[in-house]
């Protein structure tokens, strides 16, 4: 089927993204211009934590969706690639001035340079933007290179064996990064902190007072650029090859698709973006350590993908926001003991939030198997409505 390509959709999408980014900047900075903003918009509000985390997780979820939803490769190694990205970013960006302090247990770092310092230091615009950007891209590249090597043996495996083998690699990676012998590079079991974070992007005046907040805008910009690249990839001929592999490997091979090449490509690209989201994760939590990158992180991201709908990019993004907002913000009240009048509400105490939350997830997994969006995208919904209206 040959379709006349219309650029209209792309322009609308671009417009929506720009408006969205503008709204983020506005929300973030409202507190600077007005004195009595609602509590939600204060810079310390949970809203911005949720938004930042959403940006980080959305990229991770979309990169997993590229693999699971669009290529049909069920990989559980996402946390491992995020760990690679986080460590690469942190190792390359610890400012020279902080190195001895961070690597105190190993008498200084073996990496004798720091990317932001090469461009003039974290405090200058060029040093911050170029250094951080370069480190993030390198984080992705390192993850992709590892993925290439891991893919050599692993991608021959089918469904659940692939899942368990990639999971195994993620665990191996975690052990390697905690190895004391690699301490001068990875800081052993200690965390690497004092790295440039999102907060460094807030523009301050000479007096040290923040004049423009960009700490939520930056992760969103990064995530949106990366997700846009993934969307373009999925809509290209490579993307169609991925989908063909997902539907039926044997038929795809018969149609002349090089299975090994495309699987490896999908795996490497997915890992590249997982690495970037790992770097963003390090920026979000202000440090890099092996502890958070367990299989549970992979499971969390997988559940987000499932809730959003396997094979839907917008679904993954929406689900990430709902997931993060529910777990970090909206369901918080379940964790605190509440007394209404004389009545002590039963069951409410720390931990209950996650129980409710996991029950909701089980309900989605069991009864709404297609997730929020199924395999549709957000624009598809509007298209469908328009067509019905035309009838």
């Amino acid at each position: 089927m040959i379709q006349k390509k219309s650029k209209k959709g792309a322009f609308i999408a671009l417009g929506c993204i720009l408006v969205f980014l503008a709204v983020i900047v506005l929300l973030e900075n409202l507190g600077l211009f007005m004195d009595n903003v609602p509590k939600v918009l204060k810079p310390t509000s949970q809203l911005f934590v949720v938004l930042k985390k959403t940006a980080v997780y959305a990229l991770a979820a979309v990169s997993m969706n590229l693999l699971t939803g669009f290529t049909g490769l069920f990989s559980l190694g996402q946390a491992g690639f995020m760990l690679l990205g986080a460590y690469t970013y942190a190792i390359l960006t610890v400012p020279m001035a902080n190195k001895d302090q961070v690597y105190y247990a190993f008498n200084g770092s073996a990496v004798k340079f720091s990317l932001p310092d090469l461009f003039g230091g974290v405090d200058t615009v060029a040093g911050l933007v170029l250094g951080v950007l370069l480190a993030i891209i390198l984080a992705g590249i390192v993850a992709a290179i590892f993925a290439w090597f891991i893919g050599l043996p692993v991608l021959r495996l089918k469904s659940d064996y692939l899942a368990i083998a990639t999971l195994g690699f993620a665990e191996i990676m975690r052990a390697i990064f905690q190895w004391q012998k690699l301490g001068p590079v990875t800081n052993g079991a200690n965390m690497i902190n004092k790295i440039p974070t999102f907060a460094n992007f807030n523009i301050e005046n000479a007096a040290g007072k923040v004049v423009l907040r960009l700490s939520t805008f930056v992760p969103f910009l990064l995530a949106i650029i990366c997700i846009a690249i993934i969307v373009l990839l999925i809509n290209s001929s490579y993307g169609r090859a991925f989908k063909a592999i997902r539907e039926d490997e044997i038929a795809a091979e018969a149609m002349g698709i090089n299975l090994a090449k495309h699987k490896r490509m999908s795996f490497c690209i997915s890992s590249f973006f997982a690495g970037i989201s790992g770097a963003m994760f390090a920026m979000f939590v202000n440090n890099a350590q092996a502890k958070p990158f367990t299989t549970n992180l992979t499971y969390e991201i997988l559940l987000i993908v499932v809730i959003g709908g396997i094979g839907s990019i917008t679904g993954s993004c929406i689900a990430t926001f709902l997931y993060v907002a529910c777990s970090e913000w909206w369901l918080r009240f379940l964790d605190t003991q509440t007394v209404i009048g004389d009545f002590q509400v039963p069951l409410l105490r720390p931990g209950f939030r996650m129980v409710v939350f996991s029950i909701v997830i089980m309900v989605v997994v069991l009864f709404f198997r297609r997730g929020i969006m199924g395999n549709k995208e957000l624009p598809d919904l509007f298209k469908g409505k328009r067509k019905e209206a035309a009838k």
Partner: protein
């Protein structure tokens, strides 16, 4: 010498505990082709039940209760989370298993208040004996014996009884077995119950050795037991047991290597490296049957 003996002893006991978990994995995989990610967490819940039940009743009641309740739990998990997805793609069932694991861990965190709980000492099991000059717990010695007895009993069950025959039929061919009048749901439930009973026994032995029970403690032994099942050839019970013993011994040996080499962080990684090597070079494992892909 004494050091070597003590390492070998604890390796055999860890291996035995993995074996008890691995049998559950391998049986479920043999029949449903499902990696039951929640199995490790069932093991953890059995540990918690042991703590709570032994606090309120004498041990000779508590231990059988733990085993029975674990079996009931596994039965309900199967009915609630896996049965509705019987005709769904395999990935959905696996995701459901991950969801159950997430749920069990969060429930455990809620109930325990995220505090590590201490497993009660079981008289007899927790007592120490001297073996070749090294103090050892009775549980360590009992584990391999118990594993051997249970495996023999299980093999008899599978090879001689009607239920066992049904299990073998279902694992050979799901649909044909159904056409032959085998009640698939009963067979699957029985499989889950047997697997969880063994996991409960394993938890009693395991936590007598490592007495702290945390909500996430089941994940790693669970995964390792699964690796053992793959190593031995998934679907094969003797394979799973031998795989588990090999993994348990290798792991404790790596942990016991001189600290100057500093390789003890790799004791977990080793298991997974073994998994990858097995999957790449002999995906059917030591005793597995060769699977053929039909177009």
């Amino acid at each position: 010498m004494e050091y070597i003996i003590s390492i070998l002893l604890s390796g055999i006991s860890v291996g035995g505990q993995y074996a008890l978990i691995a049998i559950g994995y391998t049986m479920v995989y043999g029949i449903l082709r499902l990696i039951n990610f929640a199995h490790g967490d069932v093991f953890m819940v059995a540990g918690l039940m042991g703590i709570y039940l032994s606090a309120s009743m004498p041990l000779y009641v508590a231990i059988p209760m733990v085993i029975v309740l674990t079996a009931i739990l596994a039965f309900f998990i199967e009915r609630a989370a896996y049965k509705p997805l019987r005709s769904a793609p395999r990935m959905s069932v696996m995701i459901s298993a991950i969801g159950v694991s997430y749920l069990l861990q969060n429930m455990a965190t809620y109930i325990t208040g995220a505090q590590p709980m201490t497993y009660p000492t079981i008289p007899g099991l927790s007592d120490t004996v001297q073996i070749a000059g090294t103090p050892t717990k009775w549980a360590v010695l009992l584990t391999p014996v118990l594993v051997a007895v249970l495996v023999v009993a299980l093999t008899v069950l599978i090879n001689k009884t009607k239920v066992g025959m049904a299990m073998r039929a279902v694992s050979k061919d799901f649909e044909t077995a159904q056409l032959m009048g085998i009640k698939i749901n009963t067979v699957i439930s029985v499989t889950f119950v047997i697997g969880s009973v063994l996991a409960a026994v394993g938890s009693i032995l395991y936590f007598t050795n490592y007495s702290a029970v945390t909500p996430t403690i089941g994940a790693l032994p669970g995964l390792k037991a699964f690796v053992a099942a793959v190593f031995g050839g998934i679907g094969s019970i003797p394979g799973a047991v031998i795989g588990a013993f090999i993994i348990g011994i290798c792991e404790t040996v790596i942990k016991g290597l001189p600290s100057a080499w500093d390789v003890s962080v790799f004791s977990d990684a080793f298991t997974f490296a073994l998994l990858v090597i097995v999957l790449v070079f002999k995906p059917t494992g030591l005793f597995g049957e060769k699977a053929t892909d039909k177009v």
